[in-house]
């Protein structure tokens, strides 16, 4: 299938040694049987065990299961089978054998039963116990806020220049204490401040970071006075999570959601995957997490279109979402949603800042713009000659210039009020994803 290519398989690999091992397995001589039925791919791999290992893969969202004893997911057998598919080996389209169809059926049933269970009324937890727990947490958070109060005052008195010189144990210590106070959102902000101290524009970054923190603390203390949607946002920012089970009981937005980008970053031992979806004028951000060597639950690729029902977390504006039900994966779409110019992006960001002052970035399709390199940095110029900067760390400038061929592009990315970070680009009726190949910035055609 044209959706799958070697680049996607490489991104799935938990580490390079797994990929190497997979290449060794990616030969038809090692497989007793292989087959495919629609989006279900399976095979029996001859391994070192007595009986062959049974591998099953769901091509829609890259979920896999193998009977080998390896703890890595996806294991080398699953990766090898995918490599076989991608390299054009002849895989017959036959009816799925028992082990594959049972797995697929069990998965769909689990998803359905989960949805049904959410719909059914469940026994409410003991309200008194809950209330006590929440009160305890609130008081812990208040301790954390008081800690931050003192620290902020001290740091500002010392001055940002001194703050910049603070070493790693200071920041991680403060962050750890905030986590202990059950305010992980605040802890994450403190860690971001540590990173900001190393940026080229550290003064501004530190000042804005501290100012946001100050406002957040003040807002949290005045929660009852805030409008409900904003209050929910503030609580989420401080670290209260919205339980996914309750979320899944709500009515979602069903439609043809186009995946615009799917990026993975590593924060310490946590792998974070951010997927942007768009359907007509709506935007949704899916966040997936995996600790250590765990696989991410599902991965999509830009251009993929999902017939899915999506539910939003509470927030203003509603942004983070969950895929409640994935009905089908449709053929990829190479066109981006309607593009806006730089002026519109700025006024949209401004309007949203008015309702959420902590807003840091919004998804935007910018275009038609023309990329150019100025003193080693990439800029995007629109038809009126307005210029949008890209972040310092952006490296795909020359590939975008090449892609544009002197003309105009439509680019999807994140706008943060000052710079625009491109993630996917459309030109000549094709969609391109901005990725890294062995540390080099390249554009890969995806649709």
């Amino acid at each position: 299938m044209s959706d799958w290519n070697s680049q996607r398989v490489e991104q799935l690999a938990p580490d390079p040694s797994a990929l190497k091992a997979a290449q060794g397995v990616a030969k038809l001589t090692k497989w007793r049987t292989v087959g495919r039925e629609d989006q279900l791919l399976w095979g029996e791999c001859l391994g070192s065990g007595s009986s062959p290992y049974q591998v099953r893969i769901d091509l829609t969202d890259a979920a896999s299961k193998c009977s080998c004893p390896s703890r890595k997911l996806p294991c080398k057998h699953a990766l090898g089978l995918l490599l076989l598919l991608v390299n054009g080996a002849k895989i017959p389209g036959t009816q799925a054998p028992a082990f594959a169809s049972e797995w697929h059926a069990a998965r769909t049933q689990r998803a359905a039963s989960r949805a049904a269970k959410q719909a059914a009324p469940e026994t409410p937890p003991d309200p008194e116990l809950q209330a006590r727990r929440m009160a305890k947490r609130e008081s812990r958070i208040e301790e954390g806020l008081a800690l931050l109060d003192t620290n902020l005052r001290d740091l500002l008195d010392q001055g940002l220049a001194t703050v910049r010189g603070k070493d790693e144990p200071f920041w991680s210590g403060l962050s750890a204490r905030l986590t202990d106070c059950q305010a992980p959102g605040l802890a994450r902000r403190v860690r971001q401040l540590a990173d900001a101290a190393n940026a080229p524009d550290w003064q501004e970054q530190l000042l804005i970071g501290f100012a946001r923190l100050r406002l957040l603390i003040d807002a949290y203390r005045r929660l009852p006075h805030l409008p409900p949607a904003l209050a929910a946002e503030v609580r989420t920012l401080v670290g209260w999570t919205q339980p996914q089970e309750t979320l899944l009981t709500r009515e979602g937005l069903r439609g043809h959601w186009q995946v615009l980008s799917c990026r993975q970053t590593q924060e310490d031992h946590l792998k974070v995957q951010r997927t942007w979806l768009s359907c007509k004028q709506e935007w949704a951000l899916i966040l997936d997490f995996a600790v250590g060597n765990q696989p991410l639950p599902r991965s999509f690729f830009p251009g993929q279109v999902l017939d899915a029902e999506v539910v939003y977390f509470e927030g203003v504006p509603p942004c983070r979402a969950l895929v409640k039900q994935l009905h089908a994966s449709l053929s990829p779409q190479a066109r981006l949603p309607a593009a806006i110019d730089i002026l519109t992006a700025q006024s949209r960001f401004g309007a949203l800042l008015a309702i959420n002052p902590w807003l840091e970035r919004i998804p935007v399709v910018l275009g038609p713009v023309f990329p150019r390199m100025q003193e080693g940095r990439c800029q995007l110029v629109d038809a009126a000659g307005r210029v949008a900067q890209t972040p310092h760390r952006f490296r795909h400038g020359w590939p975008l210039v090449a892609l544009a061929q002197g003309g105009l592009l439509e680019i999807f990315g994140e706008w943060d009020g000052q710079s625009f970070e491109p993630m996917a680009a459309a030109a000549g009726g094709r969609l391109y994803n901005l990725v890294q190949l062995r540390d080099m910035p390249v554009l890969a055609k995806v649709a």
Binding site: G159, T162, Q203, L207, L343, P399, K445
Partner: protein, 502 residues
């Protein structure tokens, strides 16, 4: 945030240095917002900063400006490689062993790299390869390179100015470039500047003449034999040895004529060898070494003779005695010094390849038992690989049709530069059916790799797969063949990708 913004800059400097004042000026608050002091000065400052940041960011609008004019690149001249092939190219940059083959195949299939991959190629592909395969990069490469100063390819003429006035390193670079383009003119440059060159300059520039050597360089090389720098003399000798028609060669041959004589009686040749009594000045000037190095197992005089023989193209013997190589070799073997001289002959043939002589020597080496297997194997491989491609292949095929020791097979695999389908099949069959694998008689991983990278893929894969199906699981032969398989498989895949449309 525009730095011309005075209140914001003030806020920044206030906070950077640390708060001293207990209150901050009201002007730092955004216009239209009344000050909201907090419980402490730091709180107030942060509130003011947040308010100002919000109003500025929300209200910021980019200025309209001139729209730049940019040229468009020329459209692609050929079909594009498919995305999978371009991805593979990206993984192979900058110097994977199969990269040259990818480029050659892309050129043969008349394909071009899509423009969005060009920045990576221009950045990572060595310049020499870029210049060798310009059509694979396409006409857009020049357009893109012109936009980025880091990718400027010197398409300009080698400059005489730099030659006349640059540093030694620059002059070496210019000379190399000109020698690529126009060898005679490069030599003329050097000849003209020769009298004024410093000794160090001569030592660095002269070796660059080794590229694109031709008979026209001879007079200059001859004069260089008298130069005061040893590097220059050594290089001159080395170059002259490669020119079989030169006066240098004729001088050596004249010396030999006196020393080795022969008569033909009834179709058999008898040789008489006279060892030279001394090495005169002229011979030393021509590079004959007087002192015998340690490890050479012959007398001094025999050593001098062997040097002379090593310098002479074998054609000389065939013409002088009007005989086939085998006849001459038989006659040589019957003389007292036959063994040492045969080695010198091998050196001569490697330098001046001749298919008949190579074949005769290879066959003798195969049957010979005197030197170590390793030495004989190396000599055979050297003889085979010094021939031009077609002749190399026919000799290789002839040798591979015989049962060979594994070490000889290994050396042939390592050194072979071109492999015809027939040769490939024979080599794989030889690997499969060999029986003698042991600690001293083995095929090296390096040899197998070289073979796998250069052999004919289409011929190899079916034979290889059939052979693997036949062999038992733990035989050494299977071990050899399994090392070949992944490389052939990758090459076949590469080929397939390059034949797919982008």
């Amino acid at each position: 945030m525009s730095t011309a913004n005075a209140p914001w800059t003030q806020l920044l400097s206030l906070t950077t240095l640390g708060l001293r004042a207990s209150s901050i000026p009201d002007t730092l608050w955004p216009e239209g917002l009344s000050p909201l002091p907090g419980p402490s000065p730091s709180d107030t400052v942060l509130r003011a900063a947040m308010a100002r940041y919000l109003t500025q960011t929300a209200g910021e609008r980019a200025q309209a400006g001139p729209v730049p004019e940019v040229s468009s690149p020329p459209p692609p001249a050929r079909r594009l490689v498919c995305e999978a092939a371009a991805w593979r190219l990206g993984q192979m940059l900058p110097n994977h062993a199969l990269l040259p083959e990818w480029l050659l195949l892309a050129e043969r299939e008349q394909r071009e790299v899509p423009i969005h991959w060009l920045p990576m190629v221009l950045e990572q592909l060595p310049l020499a390869q870029q210049l060798r395969h310009p059509q694979v990069l396409g006409p857009a490469a020049a357009w893109l390179a012109a936009l980025n100063p880091q990718w400027q390819r010197s398409a300009t003429e080698p400059s005489e100015e730099i030659w006349n006035s640059g540093s030694l390193q620059e002059r070496c670079a210019e000379f190399t470039r000109l020698r690529e383009k126009d060898p005679p003119r490069a030599r003329e440059w050097l000849e003209q500047s020769w009298p004024t060159e410093t000794p160090e300059g001569r030592a660095k520039l002269f070796p660059l003449l080794r590229a694109h050597l031709s008979a026209a360089d001879e007079p200059f090389l001859e004069r260089a034999l008298d130069d005061s720098r040893k590097e220059v003399r050594t290089v001159a000798i080395e170059c002259l040895r490669q020119l079989p028609e030169s006066a240098y060669a004729l001088r050596n041959q004249a010396r030999l004529t006196a020393l080795i004589t022969g008569e033909i009686k009834k179709r058999s040749l008898t040789l008489q060898i006279e060892l030279p009594t001394q090495v005169d000045r002229a011979a030393q000037r021509d590079g004959i070494v007087v002192r015998r190095p340690v490890g050479v197992k012959m007398g001094d005089r025999a050593y001098w003779l062997s040097q002379l023989v090593a310098l002479t193209p074998p054609r000389y013997w065939s013409e002088r005695f009007q005989c086939e190589p085998e006849v001459f070799l038989d006659a040589l073997a019957k003389t007292d010094h036959g063994e040492g001289l045969q080695s010198s002959l091998i050196e001569a043939v490697a330098r001046h390849p001749d298919p008949k002589w190579s074949r005769a020597l290879c066959l003798r080496l195969l049957e010979g038992t005197r030197d170590s297997l390793w030495e004989r194997a190396n000599q055979i491989a050297q003889l085979v690989s010094s021939l031009p491609p077609e002749q190399e292949q026919s000799l290789a095929v002839e040798l591979l049709s015989r049962p060979l020791d594994l070490t000889i097979l290994d050396r042939l695999l390592d050194h072979g530069r071109t492999w015809s389908p027939k040769g490939t099949v024979l080599a794989i069959t030889a690997l499969k059916s060999t029986r003698q694998a042991n600690n001293r008689n083995w095929v090296s991983g390096g040899g197998l790799q070289s073979f796998a990278h250069r052999a004919d893929v289409d011929a190899a894969l079916p034979v290889l797969e059939a052979a693997l199906a036949d062999l038992a699981a733990d035989s050494p032969q299977r071990g050899f063949l399994e090392q070949l398989h992944p490389i052939f498989h990758e090459r076949a895949l590469m080929r397939q990708e390059l034949q797919t449309d982008g």
